[in-house]
C-alpha cells in the first residue's frame, strides 16, 4: 500500500528524519513509536507532503507521490487523510460540527447525499444533534470523534493518526481506540498510528517501528518486538511504561 524508501528531512543542521525506509501493507495498523522529537510526526507530514522531504521516495500503491505536481497531488489526497493530536486546535472554532465534518466534500465538490453525515456520526459515536454545535461545546473526546469523522468522510484508503489519544484520559482513550478499530474494519482502512505510549500502541498495532533521533532502530511484528526487543532503546521504552500492579512496581523497593 505504502512504501517509504530512504526518506530524509533536515531542519537546519538537525536530521529530523534520517534515511528511513518501511512498508505498510494494505489493511494493517502500522505504528511509529518514539519520544518527542524523534521525528515520528515529521515522517507523517512528509508522507502526506505537508512537508517536502530532502530526499527519498514515497510510493502510494506504486505511484511516487513526490513526483506529482500539486494539482495531481490534490486529487490523490482524497485517499489519504490525517487526524491530529490536539482536538482543541485542529477544529475551526467558528464552524459548526456538521460543517467541519462536511468541509472535505466541499473541497472536492462531492455531493455525498443527506444520509452521509448521520451515518458518520453514528460510526464515530456522536449524537445527531451535535451537527449544530460549535467545537467549544464539546469535550476533548467528542472533538477527537469529530476529527475522525472529518478524516473518513471521503472514504480514504489510508489514514494517519498522529498521537490522537495522548491528550485524553484513560477511559476516553479506550473509547477512541475502539472507534479507530471500528472504522478500520468498516472501511477496510490502512492506518499509520503515531504515538509515544507503547502500551497504547500495544493494544492497537499489528506492526511497529521504533524511532530514535530520526532513525528507525527496530521494526517488526508488534508481539515479537514487545516480548523480545532486540534494540536497547526499545527495551528502555518498554521498561518505562507504568504497570498497573503495585506489587510489580519498580519504584518501591
Amino acid at each position: 500500500m505504502l512504501k517509504v524508501e530512504n526518506l530524509s528531512k533536515k531542519f537546519g543542521i538537525i536530521n529530523a528524519v534520517d534515511d528511513i525506509s518501511f512498508e505498510i501493507e494494505k489493511g494493517e495498523i502500522f505504528s511509529l513509536v518514539g519520544e518527542s522529537g524523534c521525528g515520528k510526526t515529521t515522517t507523517g507530514r512528509l508522507i502526506l507532503r505537508l512537508l517536502e522531504p530532502d530526499c527519498g521516495r514515497i510510493l502510494f500503491e506504486g505511484i511516487d507521490i513526490l513526483k506529482k505536481s500539486q494539482s495531481e497531488l490534490k486529487k490523490m489526497r482524497k485517499n489519504f487523510q490525517i487526524i491530529f493530536q490536539d482536538p482543541y486546535t485542529s477544529l475551526n472554532p467558528r464552524m459548526r460540527v456538521g460543517d467541519i465534518i462536511e468541509e472535505p466534500l466541499k473541497v472536492f465538490g462531492i455531493d455525498a447525499g443527506a444520509a452521509t453525515l448521520p451515518h458518520l456520526l453514528e460510526m464515530v459515536g456522536l449524537p445527531l444533534n451535535y451537527v449544530k454545535r460549535f467545537p467549544h461545546e464539546l469535550s476533548g473526546g467528542e472533538r477527537q470523534r469529530v476529527g475522525i469523522a472529518r478524516a473518513i468522510i471521503l472514504n480514504p484508503k489510508f489514514l494517519i493518526a498522529d498521537e490522537v489519544v495522548s491528550s485524553l484520559d484513560v477511559i476516553i482513550q479506550a473509547q477512541i481506540l475502539d472507534v479507530l478499530k471500528r472504522i478500520k474494519s468498516h472501511l477496510s482502512l490502512t492506518i499509520l498510528f503515531i504515538a509515544h505510549d507503547l502500551a497504547v500502541v500495544g493494544s492497537l498495532a499489528d506492526r511497529v517501528a521504533v524511532m530514535n533521533h530520526g532513525k528507525i532502530v527496530e521494526i517488526g511484528n508488534k508481539d515479537i518486538i514487545f516480548s523480545n526487543p532486540s534494540h536497547s532503546y526499545t527495551k528502555k521504552l518498554l521498561c518505562a511504561v507504568p504497570i498497573p500492579d503495585p506489587i510489580k512496581s519498580k519504584f518501591r523497593k
Partner: protein
Amino acid sequence: MLQIKNLRVEYESDNKIITAVDGINLTIEEKQIVGLVGGSGCGKSTVALSILNLIEKPGRIAGGQILWDGKDLLKMGSDEIRKVRGSQISMIFQDPFSSLNPVFTVGDQISETIRYHEGLGKRSALLRAQELLSDVMIDNPALRLKQYPHELSGGMLQRVMIAMAIACGPKLLIADEPTTSLDVTVQSEILQLMIDLKNNLGLGILFITHNLASVAEICDLVAVMKDGRIVEQSDVFKIFEKPASDYTKELLKAVPKLKC
C-alpha cells in the same frame, strides 16, 4: 497532617449551580503519597485548588473544612494563607510550559520564591536555586539558571517546577497530573523523583492523575473520584487486588497494558 473534611465546592453557570466536589473526606500524612484518581471533569483538580484556597469565581467553597496541622485553611485570611502557599504546601501542574513565565530566566523564577519566603538576597537565592536544580537531577544547573523556559524540554521544565515547589522546604506537595504531558521515559523519571522526595525530604504528596498505572507505581493510598464524590478509598495494594467499586474496575480496564 492535612485533613479534608466534608468538602463541597460549587460552580455557578447560567444561574444553575453545579456541584463539582460533593462532600469528600481525605487525609494525607507526612512521607505518604496519596493518589487522587478519576476521569476529566470528576473534580480532582478542584480539590487540589481548594486546599490552597485558590478557587476563583464563579466557583466557591460551599462547605467543609481543610485542616492543616489542625488549623482550617479555608478560614485563613489572605496574608495568612499566602505564608502557607509555597512554604508549607506547594503545587505543580500538568503543563510546565504554561506554568512558567516565558520572559524570565529559570533562575529568576526559582529565586523569586526563595527571596519572597526566606528573605534571602539576590545572589544567595540564585546559589540556592542552583542547588535545588541539582537536587532534582537537572544536568548542568549553572547553565540552566540562565536559560529561558523555551530553551528547556518538557521534562526539564517539570523538574524546574518541582525545584520551585520544594524551594522553601514544604511538607506537602500537590502534584496535579505532573506526568500527563510527558513522554513515557520522562514520566518514569518524574515518578522516581517524587518517590525520592518522599523518602529523602519526608514530603507528603497528593498525586492527581487519570492513570491508575502510575498510581500503582508510586502511591501508598488511593482515592478514586467520580462526579465530585470519592467512590472508593483504600490502601494501594488492596485497591488493585480487589477493587470494590464498578468505576474503579472500569478505570483499571481502560489502562492500556503491555502484554509481555
